[in-house]
Amino acid sequence: MARAITTKQKAINTAVIWTLGLVMFFPIFWLIILSFKTESDAIMAPMEVLMSGWTMESYDAVNRRSDYFKFFSNSVIIALGSTFLGLLIAVPAAWAMAFVPGKRTKDILLWMLSTKMLPPVGVLIPIYLLFRDTGLLDTRIGLVFVLMMINLPIIVWMLYTYFKEIPAEILEAARMDGASLGKEVLYVLTPMALPGIASTMLLNIILAWNEAFWTLNLTAAKAAPLTAFIASYSSPEGLFYAKLSAASVMAIAPILVMGWFSQKQLVRGLTFGAVK
């Protein structure tokens, strides 16, 4: 199908896919628009909304909230914390499985995948009670741990696939060149695996940032991240569309940007490397 295509055909294709794209993107687009409107403007009919004046007042209102920064930083801490912790545990495991495969390696990997199939609601109660009794409820550290656990299979799998792409011969060469295990990892493996590790980090940050089961059930005032903050708009007082939009845009903007860069990683990570 890769032959000379008429300009007319290409134009039709372009029109079709742009329509698709704009339709899919419209809700987000609308969200952005509304975030720059006053509350009374935000509830008007679409054409009138577009005509009305722009303002930053909704963003100001949200930022002025004394707790907004807390929600935002909770999201950051939980996302980064669970990612780093997860990497710490997953990198050695993925290394071992990729370079010293045993008879049971594939089984262990598949088992890890299967733990992700456990519906979180099945362990909601025990985790909730355990956290309550150990004082981990509504703490960032508790959430970091939980989110690390639920994403650990993905992190391990992704790293495993990236490590497997490093030619074994290069590591053997390092060994023949006299590198001890530590030096091999430091001078050869890590530099070569760095892009893969970065990709894994990116994907995990996205997944942790957007997680909306544990972050809603295990937090209250102190450790609530943005997911919970936005959820509080489900029982609003007065007009709130514009403020909700501003808050939402600020909550999703970092991830939209990261998502743009991490499409390939998403495919690899969420299909456990099965699709290339």
Partner: protein, 334 residues
């Protein structure tokens, strides 16, 4: 320095024995080639010597000391991999420096050795490039350079020319041979290409299914192959191996005669036949002849001047002094 002795070395992967116990001695300064078809265990054998695989049983001695339990780094050997295995994130200089860095050499020593190797291999202009910016042949040289600087007891080559195109292969072959003459270090070289084996080796080890079929100099293998397998493996084009009626008169199950040892005549000869496909290389012509009474086609080498073609009738006469005879087990009859 550089004598390697294998005593009753065997290797199994799980329950599969890929190399039954074998003995082999590689002398100091020799250029030894392991050759054989795919899966014959030649690479495995090399990796056992390198220490990248553990032996299942037996002993490896390097310069009289047991090396069987030593990790690769401590054996004093250097390896050139088929895919060159260069460190993609390091410059050529850093690649070559790496083993020296691992050995803890001081900067001055490192510099001296690197420049030396670069000079020998014509890499001086490329020292600051990364492997990704080099051609296949240049990468090959960097891999060799990385091995040279270690001043090892022996060099191990694992099919180093397989990834190069044909023209480059011929050139690199000569360069490696020249390197050997210059450094006088033991070289153990693995290849599936018997032309490489014949042209580069002091000693060839022919392997099949993990078993050493024969060890000898190229000419020994060419003139006195110990069995059918070696006879058919060494020499290009392959030796003609004939069974049945034509073999019986020579008191053998199989007789073998190389394409270059058969005379062709359009008038008379021992065997009558018809020419099939012929390959004209300019310097030589190889004829595929169907001989009456023989199932297999006979390949014959004639001078490039001859202009026989498809369907021509010819007579072939094998040179009896170069006729090889093999018995029921495929072993050579003296």
């Amino acid at each position: 320095m550089g004598q390697i002795v294998l005593k009753q070395v065997s290797k199994s992967f799980g329950d599969t024995e890929v190399i039954p116990p074998l003995d082999l001695t590689i002398e100091e300064g020799e250029f030894v080639v392991f050759v054989g078809p795919s899966g014959c265990g030649k690479s495995t054998l090399l990796r056992l010597i390198a220490g990248l695989e553990d032996v299942t049983s037996g002993n490896i001695e390097i310069d009289g000391k047991s090396a069987t339990a030593l990790p690769p780094a401590k054996r004093g050997l250097a390896m050139v991999f088929q895919s060159y295995a260069l460190y993609p994130h390091m410059s050529v200089r850093k690649n070559i420096a790496f083993p020296l860095k691992m050995a803890g050499l001081d900067k001055a020593d490192q510099k001296r050795r690197i420049e030396n190797a670069a000079h020998v291999l014509n890499l001086t202009d490329y020292l600051d490039r990364k492997p990704g910016q080099l051609s296949g042949g240049q990468r090959q040289r960097v891999a060799i350079g990385r091995a040279i600087v270690r001043e090892p007891a022996a060099f191990l080559f694992d099919e180093p020319l397989s990834n190069l195109d044909a023209a480059l292969r011929v050139g690199m072959r000569l360069e490696i041979s020249e390197l050997h003459k210059r450094l006088a270090t033991t070289m153990v070289y693995v290849t599936h290409d018997q032309v490489e084996a014949m042209t580069m080796a002091d000693k060839i080890v022919v392997l099949q299914a993990g078993v050493i079929e024969q060890v000898g100099s190229p000419l020994e293998l060419y003139r006195s192959p110990r069995n059918r397998f070696v006879a058919g493996f060494i020499g290009s084009p392959k030796m003609n191996l004939i069974e049945g009626d034509k073999a019986a008169p020579h008191n053998a199950k199989t007789i073998g005669i190389r394409p270059e040892h058969i005379t062709v005549s359009t008038e008379s000869g021992d065997w009558a036949g018809t020419v099939g496909v012929s390959e004209h290389l300019g310097s030589d012509t190889f004829l595929r002849v169907t001989v009456d009474g023989i199932d297999e086609h006979i390949t014959v080498r004639v001078s490039g001047e001859i202009t026989l073609g498809y369907g021509d009738k010819v007579f072939l006469t094998p040179d009896i002094s170069n006729l090889h005879r093999f018995d029921e087990q495929g072993l050579r009859i003296a």
